[in-house]
Assembly symmetry: C2
Homo-oligomer: 404 residues x 2
């Protein structure tokens, strides 16, 4: 066994993040998708309004379309207007409103010619064909002006906008059925290891099931990636090399497994041969044995083999990286504040992620060890113990970042 | 025009939420999905482990499998062990370790018979076929015990668990390829209104595009629903009634549009005829004209017609309702704290949702009016002005709930 000094490129978490993000380039390719399927996508066009919304002056209330001036006296004396007819919703009236007269109008209906305001039905009283107005209105009252929401020529949404429900609504308001969005970055996830077997196959002695490609797929796909799970690759030079080379046409390659120093060395050697290793090991717990390189401009990340280390580092490193590639806004995590159920001690000298379950108003540490997927499966979230913090006391208030 | 008093069932936001949730029953039906597509779903089975994870005692480190007792003297004197061979990852050794001897072992490999600990390679030195041990280990050191993560028979995940990446990893660790989950509640969204036209069709005078069914679909589908967008229905008794009756086989019916008092009355009347109206109008701004009833046990919700009112109320009312039906945990919203860019005044006497854009460290109010979809499309989130609060001063710290 050769002398192992694999972590010569050990970096801080901040440095690792910086290097990683620097080498993750936002996707350039675009595609056209139906508006109804564009939630969460990123707009790849500048959306200039080709029409007015609303397309006409319309009543904002149920009531009577009037000439506002006719109503000015209504606070002092009885004002009666002659009713000339009804405009139902969706109807365009060919009648005009002239002084002393009015038309009944429904919310959303185009304001008839001559009228410049609407009196709400609540401030009227019908007396046969005469309408008593009980409150004056100013010109423009209860009217939505043509283009009040969007004016023709307005730059309504610009390239790079994250498509929220409201922005999808804006596309619909302009009559759009499809929209140009950036493609989702394609990520190939390659589980590795001689002892690793895909679920669905029987386990032979000494074998375990592949966990990491499933957790990585879940995390990456919920942050904008199209993930392809590659079959398990045994960690031998030739097999790893050919799997990586084949995956380079994607936007990112993530290898998982190879938790042993020897395996990491192997992968590091391959990356050095094919491209460049940019860091190898991070001062973080769990998840120290994380490897990052670039081969032919494609970022290649070697994740720790232990399921909890792998998943924890996916949240820490892969989420910001893939979001940058997908052009999604930086993630704002969901957090809750609660008390810690018992004293915890950090002795790692690395920044530590401690998984907790939230129950009865307390955060209960559930971290077992980095090999146990249940360390995370039983957790609702995690708290962070900074490098320079050794102890959090029982009952101390902590911020829990929720896992999702 | 008949006398309108539609809001006789006006309720507070809290009361509306209570009534709505009371009448939204969690789905009962289940379905089998591939584990790799189960993210965000809700487990409909009790997951009892049918095996141990790991399935054998294994090395947690690269190093040497030893009899721990052999190493106890290593802090005081040189301890040499005879090297009997190598166990690579994924290999099961047929060799046993006896006192005075050792086997080189890779992380993850099954611990050979006779060995009860692993000395990390960092605390050894190879001298020919002899291994110098420089640090003692206790029995069990650097060994992951069989079942340390999961024991056969453990209840690993219980029915109702929300499938996070880590829980998907647990399913994979147990070799599962499919999983039983609760069905997504089916929601039929029916846009209504004589003046409302589906995007993709030309607008005639007096017509506007359907916005609400798109925003509702986006919100509902991102909180666990399978949404069917119904074609636009004109708001006439017969058409509305038949559309509702046809949709009752779903788990929830949401109508959007009908912003006028007359239209809301019409819908309320239909619901009263077919079932029961439980509230009609909420003390909230925007979004007062929200209607809720139950027809043959199916909740039917009439949303405000104005796009911003509709969408805002979708966040407030539909999200908790559909999450309850989908058996998803209560939403924890993403929030950021920031300063308000200018003084805002609430004069509504209702709880008010004020949309804001976050820029340069300030929350800038962007709310125009409830008819303008851009009131929300240009927003990053909203702040809440409670009923009893009239003013928030410029530069005051506010909590912005992010829209997503």
């Amino acid at each position: 066994m050769k002398k192992m000094d694999p972590f010569k490129l050990l970096v801080s978490q901040e440095e690792a993040e910086r290097i990683l993000l620097e080498n993750c380039i936002p996707v350039q390719s675009t595609e056209t998708v139906p508006v109804s399927q564009s939630l969460g996508r990123v707009l790849a066009e500048n959306l200039k309004a080709d029409r007015f919304v609303p397309p006409f002056d319309r009543s904002a209330m149920d009531g009577y379309a009037v000439v506002a001036e006719d109503t000015f006296a209504a606070s002092n004396e009885d004002v009666f207007l002659a009713l000339d007819g009804v405009i139902h919703a969706g109807e365009v009236s060919d009648k005009a409103v002239s002084s002393g007269r009015c038309l009944q109008i429904a919310t959303g209906s185009p304001l008839p010619e001559g009228a410049d305001a609407v009196v709400m039905v609540e401030y009227t009283e019908r007396q046969g064909e005469q309408i008593l107005i009980t409150k004056p209105v100013y010109p423009g009252a209860n009217v939505s002006r043509k283009g009040e929401d969007i004016k023709e020529g307005d730059m309504v949404l610009s390239r790079g906008s994250h498509l929220t429900p409201a922005r999808i609504g804006t596309l619909a308001a302009l009559g759009r059925t499809t929209v140009e969005v950036y493609a989702r970055p394609r990520v190939v996830v390659i589980p590795t290891g001689k002892e690793v077997v895909s679920p669905g196959n029987p386990l032979q002695p000494g074998q375990i099931y592949d966990v990491n490609s499933f957790t990585l797929e879940a995390v990456l796909s919920s942050h904008g990636a199209n993930v392809e799970r590659h079959p398990v690759v045994i960690d031998e030079q030739a097999e790893l090399e050919s799997a990586i080379l084949e995956a380079l046409e994607s936007d990112m390659v993530v290898l998982s497994g190879g938790s042993s120093v020897g395996e990491k060395d192997l992968l590091a050697g391959i990356l050095e041969g094919l491209g460049e290793v940019l860091f190898h090991g991070v001062q973080i717990k769990p998840g120290k044995p994380t490897l990052f390189g670039v081969v032919k401009k494609t970022p290649v990340i070697g994740m720790p083999g232990y399921p909890t280390s792998c998943l924890s580092n996916a949240y820490v490193f892969l989420v910001p990286a893939i979001r940058k590639m997908a052009r999604l806004p930086e993630q704002v995590e969901r957090t809750v504040s609660t008390k810690l159920s018992k004293r915890v001690v950090s002795s790692s000298g690395r920044r530590q992620f401690l998984t907790v379950r939230i129950e009865d108003g307390f955060a209960h540490p559930v971290y077992k060890h980095s090999g146990a997927i249940t360390s995370m499966a039983q957790a609702d979230g995690y708290i962070i113990l900074p490098v320079n913090l050794d102890v959090i006391e029982e009952n101390e208030e902590v911020t829990v970042t929720l896992l999702e």
